[in-house]
């Protein structure tokens, strides 16, 4: 079933169109920045964006910070919303279930597919934006990875991206460290998106409207963003799903600033567990009448 779901994901034009669109935004931003040489001052606007003028190879980090707040969650919500409700509307859900595929197995297969989608999207954004950054903005030092100079540049980027809140010191990043940190970033973003996916997947088992569940999930995220910036809601602020979404930026500090990363990870794990359990409980006992 998992293999079949992945095949469906890969063969679906929508998958590639949405990933293409996600990749297009950073490319467009890179074009504007490279032409105008105007970037937000350090500590303002999108993280890392000020650093990329100095080093184009840092652009993947800026690109991820660009697509993370809206583009990526929208795409994930669309895919997750479609997972159950879309099959229900199309009528294919009942034929899959009587094939027979157990309902738990069905949900697991859908979840794996969503994780694969997020991974493909994040890695594609990283690769295309790296190429765009190097081509349009130029690397500060050619072949950024593995050279002490590049590591130094990266640290500088980290300082500027981190709203200059922390002073950083330490040796430059080695190639291995860089790969570890990029891996950590991808893992953290994937887990964050999994939180979105779990919420939307639950909604997708509640309603038969793929659009409804996707929009419901986005409404939760927008609500979360509002609360995350509202001082009056300070008491619940640490627990809203989007609070630590950008904590992966701390991977690019030296040494890594773990506190927010750990909290963000922990919160997402709780959201994923709670909403997947709810999705499972609801879907497992639901009458399929579509």
């Amino acid at each position: 079933m998992i293999a079949v779901e992945l095949r469906k994901l890969v063969r679906r034009p929508r998958t590639w169109i949405s990933i293409g669109l996600i990749c297009a935004l950073p490319v467009a931003v890179a074009i504007f920045v490279s032409v105008s040489h105007l970037a937000p001052p350090p500590g303002q606007g999108t993280a890392f964006l000020s650093a990329i003028l100095q080093d184009g190879s840092l652009y993947p980090a800026a690109a991820l910070a660009l697509v993370l707040p809206v583009f990526l969650p929208v795409a994930v919500a669309v895919v997750a919303g479609d997972a159950v409700a879309g099959e229900a509307t199309a009528g294919t859900l009942r034929y899959l279930l009587i094939r027979p595929i157990g309902r738990t197995r069905f949900l697991v297969a859908k979840l794996v597919t969503i994780i694969m989608f997020v991974l493909i999207a994040v890695v594609t954004v990283a690769i295309t934006s790296y190429l765009t950054g190097v081509l349009l903005l130029g690397p500060a030092v050619p072949a950024a990875v593995g050279q002490p100079g590049a590591g130094q540049q990266l640290q500088t980027g980290g300082v500027q991206a981190g709203s200059a809140a922390t002073s950083l010191s330490g040796p430059p990043l080695t190639a291995l460290q860089l790969i570890e940190r990029v891996g950590g970033t991808i893992a953290f973003i994937t887990v964050s998106m999994l939180g979105v996916a779990a919420i939307v997947l639950f909604l997708s088992t509640v309603t038969d409207s793929a659009l409804g569940s996707a929009l419901g999930g986005l409404a939760v995220l927008i609500g979360s963003e509002v609360l995350a910036t509202l001082d009056a809601a300070a008491s619940i602020r640490p627990y809203v799903p989007t609070r630590y979404w950008l904590a992966w930026i701390d991977f690019f500090r030296q040494p890594i600033f773990w506190r927010d990363i750990q909290r963000g990870f922990g919160i997402q794990v709780v959201y994923v567990a709670v909403f997947l359990a709810a999705a499972w409980a609801n879907f497992g006992t639901k009458d399929i009448t579509t």
């Binding site: 079949v4 063969r11 294919t92 009942r94 009587i98 027979p100 009458d287 399929i288 009448t289």
Partner: protein
């Protein structure tokens, strides 16, 4: 093959299926009839484990459903309401994908089985076209092909002739009879009474969730003890058989008589010309209209005598 006991499904206040005791034997061609909203589809969905029963039991091939759904459903091919497929993929790819998704679809034989199923339903030439280019009838055929890919022991088909033209309906009927003769039990629901009359050996009629009739077709269509005579000498027939005439409509007379042949011999002996003479049988249409017309004053006889006694209604017993 299928046995249900006091099977009941309630959606809120509505009792969609009400204490149904269904019995489908091995090798039956069972036709489930009933007006729209009588609970046919809900019953079919419960048999397939898509909708969970509020009360009662389902046993298919001797195993409890939906507890043993994983084992039972591999032996069942089904069509539930309309067929469904991924429109951007070809019919062949859809069948292969569905086959690969679940258990029991051996990979080595998949190509051959999918090809054979498409050929059986008459889609061999269209298997590579995307489903979005299929007509309604082609989609219906594809849905049937999907049910046949793993040579099931039991076919559960909800409105199998939906969207088909007369030739398509005949093709599918011939196919189902052929499969049945090779040992497949066929359970289908339909609006098309004539279709069920031609295809099925056993009939069940649902009315407002209750199974009001369950009988072999031949028993349902047993002679009524009346003979229909059509004659240009209708007046003479009426005079000759005075006292036995039930109704007369122009040249067509219905008389009480057990033996059409003897009646024919007598009429001919009296030099009465006979255009047509046959024992009267109840048509399925008549039966359905009678048994599902409960509550209407125009119905002859009491439909409740056919139905499940009211005290078996779980709602009543709870109150």
């Amino acid at each position: 093959m299928i046995v249900t006991r006091a099977l009941t499904k309630r959606f809120g206040q509505i009792v969609a299926v009400d204490s149904v005791d269904l019995t489908v034997g091995d090798g039956d061609r069972y036709g489930l009839l009933g007006p729209n909203g009588s609970g046919k589809t809900t019953l079919v969905r419960m048999l397939l484990g898509l909708v969970y029963a509020t009360k009662g039991e389902i046993e298919i091939m001797g195993l409890r459903m939906p507890k043993h759904a994983g084992r039972v459903l591999t032996e069942i091919g089904a069509l539930v309401e309309e067929p469904a497929a991924y429109p951007h993929m070809s019919g062949r790819a859809n069948l292969a994908l569905l086959d690969a998704a679940g258990p029991g679809g051996e990979r080595g034989t998949r190509r051959r089985r999918v090809g054979a199923a498409l050929e059986r339903v008459g889609l061999a030439g269209a298997g590579r076209r995307p489903v979005r280019a299929y007509s309604l009838g082609m989609r219906q055929r594809l849905g049937l092909a999907a049910a046949l890919v793993r040579t099931p022991r039991l076919l559960i088909l909800d409105e199998p002739s939906n969207g088909l033209d007369p030739r398509g309906i005949r093709d599918i009927r011939d196919l189902l009879i052929e499969l049945n003769q090779a040992g497949t039990t066929v359970f289908l629901s339909s609006h098309l009474l004539a279709e069920v009359e031609r295809l099925c050996t056993r009939v069940g009629i649902l009315d407002r969730g209750k199974l009001v009739v369950q009988e072999t077709l031949s028993a349902l269509q047993a002679p009524t003890g009346r003979v229909v005579v059509t004659s240009p000498d209708a007046d003479r027939v009426a005079a000759l058989l005075d006292g036995r005439v039930e109704t007369r409509d122009g040249a067509r007379i219905v008389v009480r008589h057990e033996d059409a042949a003897a009646l024919n011999a007598r009429l001919v002996g009296e030099c009465v010309r006979v255009t047509e003479i046959r024992p009267q049988r109840r048509s399925l249409e008549q039966l359905v209209l009678e048994t599902t017309g409960a509550g209407s004053d125009q119905v002859d006889g009491s439909p409740d005598t056919h139905g499940t006694p009211l005290r078996k209604n779980p709602r009543e017993s709870e109150q």
